[in-house]
């Protein structure tokens, strides 16, 4: 296979043909960097808590072996440019796979900002897509509360990191974090203090 050959992956799917193609790319990159996270989609979620809103910040970094397929998933018109419309559609698709609830009640996430690197940087495996989304919630009463986040986006290739950020206000204190084994699910217990 020549260096300029392209590998076509089905949109949004990683079937047997796609996996086989990924393996070929992995071989081309040389055995020495196989152990890098090249064939996974690293998805870091950071949760910022406030008494009236919850913000989820996603940092999505496709490994170089899967990046071409991810770019094709975003660049639906195949013009090599990730247009604003394509970016917005991708953000919507990602957020549809992210479930948030606060004290057992589903909270809908709305995108507030996003940043996409150039398609070439993504394909090179060094590009990170950042998405910020928040959910407004009724003002929380003083006491204990729980936020639950589940990220099911591209679970077949996902490698997850999930963390609560240190709250910016001292009226909120995180008391515990629980995750499932691969960190695609995160529960955060926190205490809201009385307003001063």
């Amino acid at each position: 296979m020549g260096r300029g050959d392209r590998i076509d992956f089905p949109l949004g799917l990683f079937n047997a043909r796609g996996i086989a193609s990924l393996a070929v790319v992995g071989v081309l990159l040389g055995a020495s960097i196989e152990a890098h996270r090249l064939d996974e989609y690293l998805q870091a979620a950071r949760v910022d808590l406030d008494s009236t809103r919850v913000e989820v910040r996603l940092a999505l970094t496709p490994g170089v072996d899967v990046a071409d397929a991810i770019v094709r998933e975003i660049d639906v018109d195949r013009d090599g440019v990730l247009s604003q419309r394509e970016q917005a559609a991708y953000v919507t698709r990602v957020l549809e796979a992210v479930h948030l609830d606060v004290d057992g009640h589903t909270a809908r996430l709305h995108p507030t900002s996003s940043r996409f690197p150039a398609a070439a940087d993504l394909k090179g495996g060094e590009g990170t897509i950042t998405i910020r989304a928040d959910a407004g919630i009724p003002p929380l009463r003083p006491g204990t509360h729980r936020v639950y986040v589940r990220n099911a986006y591209h679970a077949e290739i996902g490698a997850y990191l999930s963390n609560a950020l240190v709250p910016r206000t001292k009226q909120i204190a995180v008391t515990a974090q629980q995750r499932n084994a691969n960190q695609s699910e995160l529960s955060i217990d926190y205490v809201v203090g009385a307003a001063r």
């Binding site: 071989v27 081309l28 990159l29 040389g30 870091a44 495996g125 995750r179």
Partner: protein
Amino acid sequence: MRALPRLMALVCLGFCATLATAAPAQTPAQVAPPAAQTDVTARIVAAAQALLATLNQADRTKVQFPFDGPQKSGWSNFPTGIFKRAGLRLGDLTPPQRTAAMSLLSTALSPEGYRKIVEIMQGDEVLRKNDTGPGPGGPPPGGPPPRAPGDAPGGPGLTPGGPPRVAFGEDEYYLALIGPPSTTAPWMIQFGGHHLAINLTLAGTEATLAPSLTGAQPARFTIEGRTMRPLGSENDKAFDLINALDEGQRKQAILAYTVSDLVLGPGQDGRTIQPEGVRGSALTPAQQTMLLDLVREWAGIMNSAFAEPRMAEIRAHLAETYFAWSGQTTNGSMAYFRVQGPTLVIEYAPQRSIDHIHTIYRDPTNDYGKRYGSR
């Protein structure tokens, strides 16, 4: 095989330069007086100026960046071909220039820190020599292609529009000076390549190494019968500490989930995650000493004139510093750990193998010397 003599020469260069430049400040467990720090800064500035004196105008332009520009965060753990670095590429330097560059590093770092970065580079050289892949990951028969005039920073391996041509080895490390070398105003030495990003900000009597990244692949290798483990002490000291904890402490320290990568690695500047694990206040004095000894593997990379005040700062916050662990506790198995305090974040993350390690060192209050202000 010339690898070991070359390595020994580099280590000796560091050791000798350190003796010549900073001997009074290199005694562990002593906080150097400000006069010693001023003296060390002056010697580092002199070493930087000596390097600049070996360069022509084009290379001086290539190595120098404005202090308040974007170059500070232009670092990565990735090799050339996946990440494009700016600055002077070691492989492009003449022997005297390369000696001057390494002399600058040996003056700025402790002997242990200098040895660590040399061994990380040496490991990448082993990776290059063992890389027999037929594609872009491996060198072609007869060695790598020559660097063409006008090649973009990042070396000869970049192929716009095509798959990345990954390049490994000691030549693929880059040096940048961010801000003019000064004995009083903030400036920065940035040195990095695959598995290495040293970001040392100096400001007169103060300095910080945060954020910096070390890594290793292979994590253990042999050169002429001598076994090298660039990050072996970090690994061993961490396993010693987790095994020194009692059952109750371990229950707090060990996380019930897998941490597959650095949480606060490259590109994650300015974020503070909620700490987890066992608090320093819950450790015995002996365990606290072990934790500090572990932290010193990172904080002690820079010259001890600056490392000792930094260790004193970390010690002052020890009660609020957490130690977290994910993975098995038998040395030789794969485990992630994190040390996090008010002014400190350290992560150690094996990459699916104990033979491939990434680590990060940060100070959320002083990454890139933000306490020192701008120029």
